[in-house]
Symmetry: C2
Amino acid sequence: MNVLIVYAHPEPQSLNGSLRDFSVQRLEAAGHEVQVSDLYAMQWKATLDANDSTAQPGDRFNPSLDSQQAFAQGLQSKDIELEQEKLLWADTVILQFPLWWFSMPAILKGWVERVYAYGFAYGVGEHSDVRWGDRYGEGTLAGKRAMLIVTTGGWESHYAQRGINGPIDDILFPIQHGILHYPGFEVLPPFVLYRTGRVDEARFAEACNALGQRLDELEQTSPIPFRRQNAGEYEIPALTLKPDIAPGCKGFSAHIE
Amino acid sequence: MNVLIVYAHPEPQSLNGSLRDFSVQRLEAAGHEVQVSDLYAMQWKATLDANDSTAQPGDRFNPSLDSQQAFAQGLQSKDIELEQEKLLWADTVILQFPLWWFSMPAILKGWVERVYAYGFAYGVGEHSDVRWGDRYGEGTLAGKRAMLIVTTGGWESHYAQRGINGPIDDILFPIQHGILHYPGFEVLPPFVLYRTGRVDEARFAEACNALGQRLDELEQTSPIPFRRQNAGEYEIPALTLKPDIAPGCKGFSAHIE
C-alpha cells in the first residue's frame, strides 16, 4: 500500500520526529511504500494568496475562483501540484502534528488551504438545489483512508468528556469530518499521545507499541462511521439531518452513525 | 476605548475588506481608537520556528521552552513584540476572518502561535497539583473583551444544530474558548455572515446594519459565560468538571454556565 505522511513539527529531534521515524520504519518493514511531506523541512509556504497561481494577476484576488481557474487550467504553483499528486498516489494519508491551540499548526493548515484546490477537494460534482456536490463521503479522495497522529501537552483527562479543553473527538471533528471526510477519505480513529512533557523511555516504548499496532492494522481498522451527505439522510439544500434520522440528536456526534 | 482588529483576508476589495473598512469607520465615529493588524498586508510570518527568537540557536528547537526564554529575556522577534504590545494596549480585540476549512486561515493561526508566547498567553501563574496556571478566565489579557467576525460560504442551516458542518458555536469553540477565554478575554457572541457568495447591495447593507449595532454595543454586550478554571468548578489537576457541576452534561457546552 502507498502511505503519505504529512508531518508538521519544526524539530527533527523531537518526540514528534521520533514518532515519525518510527512510523516510516514500521510501515516500510511491512512492505508499504512511504512518502513523507515534512512541511517544515520543505519550508512549505503556509499562506494562501495570489501567488498560488501562475496566471496573470487579475484586479481582485478571489481565493475560490482563482483556485478553480488555476486548477482547471494547469496554472497551479508547482508545490501545490506535487502535493496533489502525492494525495492521488496514496492509499492512506496520515497527518501528524502537535496540537497547538486546539488545532493543527499553521503550516499544516496552510497545506490544506493551498493543496485543497477548488475542483480538487471542493467544488467537485453537481451543485444545485437537488445535489450539493460530491463531498462528505464522496469526492476526489474517495476510497482512500486517512488517520491523524496527534500529540498534546495536556493530560488525557483534560480532553475527556467533561475535561476543560473539551473532548478530543470534538476538537478533532473539524479536521476529521471537515477536512478528511469532506473530500472522500474514510477516517480511522486518531492516535493521540497526551502529556508529551512527561515522556520517558518507558512511555515512549509504550507509545511506539500502541502506534505500531495501529499502523499494522491500517487496512483492517473500521473507519469512524461519518454519515454520507448524498445517502438520503440530509435535506438538500438545507443540509440538515432529516427529522427521522437520529431524532433529537444534535451537534457533531449527530453526524456519526 | 482602544480596539484592535486582527484581520486575515488576502484581498482588500473583498466582502471582508468592506466589512473591515466599515468597522473601522463605525468605531472611530463613536470615538474609539482603532488599530488594525492586517496580516496579509503586513506579510505576517505564519510559521512558528527557531527564528522567532534572536537567541543563539541551541541544538534542538523546543517550541515552548524557546518561546519562554525569548519572552522572559526580551529576545523575541520584533514583529511578535509589536503584536503583544497591541494586545496590551487594546480594551477589545476583534479577530476577523473568512472560515476556511472550518477554522481560521493559516496566517491568523500563525499569528496566534507566535504572538501567544509562553509567559504571555500560556504558562502564566503557578502550575502545580493544586493550581493549574492563570488561564481559562484569568491571565495576561483578563479584563479585556474579544469578539469574532466570521464569514462563511455555507448557509446558516449548514451550521445549524443538525446542519452537516456542525453547529457554528461548536466549530468556533476551540477559538472562542481555547484561544480567547484561555488567556483571560471575556468573549462576546460572534458576528457571523453566511452565504458570502450571495451578498448583493441589500444584503450588504443589512449586514452592516447588524454589525454596526454589535460594534455600538461592544461595551454592554454580555459575554459568553464560559466557566472559570480556578473558580472551584473543576477538579485539579484532572481539570474535569466536579460531579455536582452540570451533572450529566458533557462536551463543549458543559463549559458554559
